[in-house]
Amino acid sequence: MNTQPAMQTDFTDDSFELAGKRYQSRLLVGTGKYKDLEETGRAIEASGAEIVTVAIRRSNIGQNADEPNLLDVLPPERYTILPNTAGCYTADDALRTCRMARELLDGHKLVKLEVLGDPKTLFPDMVQTLAAAEALVKDGFDVMVYTTDDPILARRLEELGCVAVMPLAAPIGSGLGIRNPYNILAIIENASVPVLVDAGVGTASDAAIAMELGCDGVLMNTAIAKARNPVLMASAMQKAIAAGREAFLAGRMPRRRYASASSPIEGMFV
């Protein structure tokens, strides 16, 4: 959603709206791959994120009965919990996963849809993704959808009623940054729902670049969780997102191949 103002002057509130709710932070984070729940909590605290993704798995997985649960660390009262369909390879599996998530979260409607096409690249299967998006919207979900950077399919997903389109910058967990800024830009220019770059960000400058393109936000997980110091990287990402957003709003200088002196020529005494 390309909301660059002709010349905005007051940036005290630069929040964005998603599924009817406003958010101050444009950084969305995942909760996977951390050393432990304690590190998860500290990193997410440092990131300033208001929306956090979680996975839905069998109850006998990932914890012992006496351990606290992820949602104790991330109380739904404070964070917008975004259950994802990670690991699903068919529209039907994604649909069942979202229904379980809705029950789990007392009717919560916001979900992140991803239907994978391939365990090696984790690229989405767009045929299944389109089918799942349509079914989920019919079933009353607010669907944020993980997609390739195909501008035509991104617009199609919006037409199906998705509340946000989330093109990948690069393969999930690759940290390669935005491989094809032209496509992301084309998606942004055509969209009337929020566009969030999802997957592929590796470091702070990648996040800044995404925001400078005009994205409404960025969702990341590995870039923070697998940094040498996740908590510090989370802080870096919060600043990078804000920096990129402000740079987008401020309107960058034109590039020129040749130089232009910063100090005046006239008045030289030598």
């Binding site: 791959k33 006998n60 990670a86 379980m100 029950e103 789990l104």
Partner: protein, 66 residues
């Protein structure tokens, strides 16, 4: 009676309710969701819901993911 619980075959006493199963699994009070044979069982119905032989029971919770 024989059912599938989270993918594994198990024996459960006949007429066991969802509430009782949750107790057995020490999940009482935990944030979970239950599906039987592909259909959600709302938490509000755990006390009335009794399992049938060969039910495919899935109980899930939220864990870290991106």
């Amino acid at each position: 009676m024989h059912v599938f619980l989270n993918g594994d075959g198990t024996e459960l006493p006949d007429g066991l309710t969802a509430t009782q199963l949750v107790e057995r699994l020490e999940l009482t009070g935990r944030r979970i969701a239950m599906e039987v044979n592909g259909e959600i069982v709302p938490r509000s119905q755990y006390s009335q819901h009794t399992f049938r032989p060969d039910d495919r029971i899935e109980i899930v919770h939220a864990i870290g993911g991106g």
